[in-house]
């Protein structure tokens, strides 16, 4: 039988061998992720928001545009000069939104970093050692799970004052019980695998087993939760600021912009439009991304 091929002859040896090489796991996951249109959209929106947050100082100057009061320009509807209009003190809303992104993302991501650390240590220990360690740690976590995390964060912030650092710690601690649970479940699912037993049989210490063998293998569900919880953390900051216990004006934050704009919204609805949309799109992007990552990393759950 004659073999007919329409393929272009390979230019180099390297190219020829490339077709036989197996794709790496990362490559394969990335290709699978790219097939998920909504997830890619989430990633794109989120990247845009991050880019905007990073370039905020070049988009609008903090001292002269973001916090300086221009009472003459107050409550102007959206125009070419002020795309989202101006607020009750005449500040450009777009500039404040852009700088607010910086605040929200910084606190949201650092807070989840805090809860990830706590969760990895506590949940990892509970899941890996099991038995008494597990029940002591998890009973302690159950106490906190009895309270809505917003309220837990609220109590901590109220007690220690609402600086950015305290907000990070408060929200980080408030989310750590849930994280510990996620990490624990993930660790428990890989704990009894044979390669763990093999590692132990060649004399690896617990620490090494946990960091080299257990955690890398349960990174999937943890990444998914990190994405979803960053969304939650950003929502919590906005909520706390909205109640008046979070970031204080004049520092721009989406939640406190909504809170101060509320009084004027009857006559000037534009004032609450932009901050709300900013929160909404950030959360939406992270939710899309998180769902997409879950489908990618755990295809069984996909519908």
């Amino acid at each position: 039988m004659q073999v007919t091929s329409t393929a272009r002859p390979f230019a180099t040896k390297k190219e020829f061998y490339a077709q036989f090489r197996k794709k790496s796991i990362a490559q394969e996951l990335w290709l699978r992720f790219l097939k998920n249109k909504t997830a890619v959209m989430g990633l794109v929106i989120f990247c845009v928001i991050v880019a905007v947050a990073i370039t905020a100082p070049w988009i609008a100057d903090y001292d002269t545009v973001v916090i300086k009061i221009h009472i003459v320009d107050r409550l102007q509807p959206p125009s070419m000069k002020h795309w989202f209009g101006t607020d009750e003190l005449g500040r450009d809303i777009l500039a404040r939104i852009v700088h607010g992104a910086q605040v929200s993302l910084l606190i949201g991501i650092s807070a989840i970093f805090v809860s990830l650390l706590v969760g990895l240590v506590l949940g990892g220990a509970a899941g890996y050692y099991g038995g008494k360690t597990d029940s002591v740690i998890m009973r302690a976590m159950d106490v906190f799970l009895c309270l809505p995390d917003v309220l837990l964060a609220l109590a901590i912030v109220a007690a220690f004052g609402n600086t950015k650092l305290n907000l990070i710690i408060a929200i980080g601690l408030a989310f750590s019980p849930k994280f510990s649970r996620v990490v624990r479940a993930a660790v428990m699912s890989v704990r009894d695998n044979e390669y763990i037993e093999a590692a132990r049989s060649i004399g690896a210490r617990d620490n090494r087993i946990i960091y080299r063998h257990v955690l890398p293998n349960c990174i999937g569900p943890i990444i998914v939760q990190v994405t979803l919880y960053v969304a939650n953390a950003i929502l919590t900051i906005a909520a706390l600021s909205f109640i008046g216990l979070g970031i204080q004006p004049p520092t721009p934050e989406w939640g406190n912009m909504l809170a101060s704009g509320r009084t004027f919204m009857r006559d000037f609805p534009h004032i609450v439009a932009a901050p709300g949309l900013a929160i909404f799109f950030t959360i939406l992007a992270l939710n899309l991304l998180g769902d997409g990552l879950r489908d990618t990393l755990d295809p069984r759950l996909k519908h």
Partner: protein, 315 residues
């Protein structure tokens, strides 16, 4: 079963003890106490010290805490520092308002979320299903305080159909707060119902039922639903906590004198007994709803019911 319920309720006591202890410690670490807020501009060292003795704030924190717990176990939530009235009186008034909103929201969400989820799962490729997916995704991403403001703008300011604040207009004033509060909750219920229904419909026993000639209606509502409801019930119960967190926001948006507002006011005024009262009530609510979820499991799923029976026999 009764024994199980009692056991679970007793397990709540250590939780409450640890929780109150932590909150007590946190609040006592705060700079400034209730006296400076009660006295306001009249505050002097002397008056402050006198008031502190009067409120019992001069004693060590541990003594204060033990005193509080001793009273709490007798059902006494203590006396508010600022209101100078029993916390329980205030709690019961505020709790009623909150309970109305939460109850209404839950009713709305469960009665809409589950049917929409089922319908969406039975026609997974239809426009309706795609629509519910988009709606669900928007629902879980919506900041509820913003949604509340938008609803006020549309239904109170523009259309003038519903009151924008307070609770003076009976059931009509509950509509917007309940929608606001329940929005995320409903989206979550809907999404969970949809995905667990989709999962259930693919199972072998569904194919068997269809092959036997069972009507499509019975296949969906008898065979699939019973098996798919578990995750939904978990969400309904677990999200009660989130719902209570949302209460604070909803009550702020609609200026409703409920427990969420009370909690925020009390925290701002360093009114420890009041803060603790609110948190204890919320923790009990969350724990009880978790218990109810477990009981409903047993009601729906014969396998779990059998487990309880076996456990009771062993004990």
């Amino acid at each position: 079963m009764i024994r199980y319920i009692i056991k679970r309720l007793f397990a709540l006591i250590p939780v409450i003890l640890v929780l109150t202890f932590i909150v007590f410690t946190i609040l006592s670490m705060t700079p400034g106490d209730a006296t400076s807020i009660i006295l306001g501009s009249e505050y002097t060292e002397e008056l402050g010290a006198k008031l502190r003795v009067e409120l019992g704030l001069d004693r060590p924190v541990v003594v204060q805490y033990l005193h509080y717990i001793a009273n709490l176990l007798r059902g006494d939530f203590g006396t508010s520092y600022v209101m100078r009235a029993p916390v329980l009186d205030q709690l019961s008034v505020r709790l009623a308002n909150t309970a109305w909103i939460v109850g209404f929201a839950m009713l709305l969400c469960v009665s809409l979320g589950i049917p929409i989820g089922i319908l969406s799962a039975t026609r997974p490729r239809s426009v309706f299903s795609q629509g519910t997916m988009v709606f669900g995704l928007m629902g879980v991403s919506m900041p509820i305080f913003w949604l509340g403001l938008l609803l006020i703008l549309l239904f109170s300011v523009k259309l003038g159909w519903l009151p924008s604040s307070g609770l003076d207009h009976g059931a009509r004033s509950l509509v917007l707060p309940a929608i606001t509060l329940g929005f995320n909750y409903m989206a979550n219920i809907m999404r969970t119902t949809r995905s667990s229904m989709l999962e259930a419909i693919r199972q072998d026993f569904i194919r068997t039922a269809r092959a036997k000639g069972v009507s499509e209606r019975r296949v969906i509502y008898d065979h699939a639903l019973g098996n798919a409801l578990m995750p939904t019930i978990t969400i309904i119960g677990m999200d009660v906590g989130t719902l209570l967190g949302g209460v604070v926001l909803t009550e702020t948006v609609f200026s409703i004198p409920g427990m969420g507002r009370l909690l925020v006011e009390a925290i701002n005024q360093r009114d420890t007994p009041c803060v603790l009262g609110c948190l204890v009530v919320m923790a009990i609510t969350v724990a009880v709803s978790n218990l109810i979820v477990d009981l409903v499991y047993a009601y729906i799923d014969p396998r779990i019911r059998a487990q309880y029976r076996a456990g009771a026999r062993k004990a």
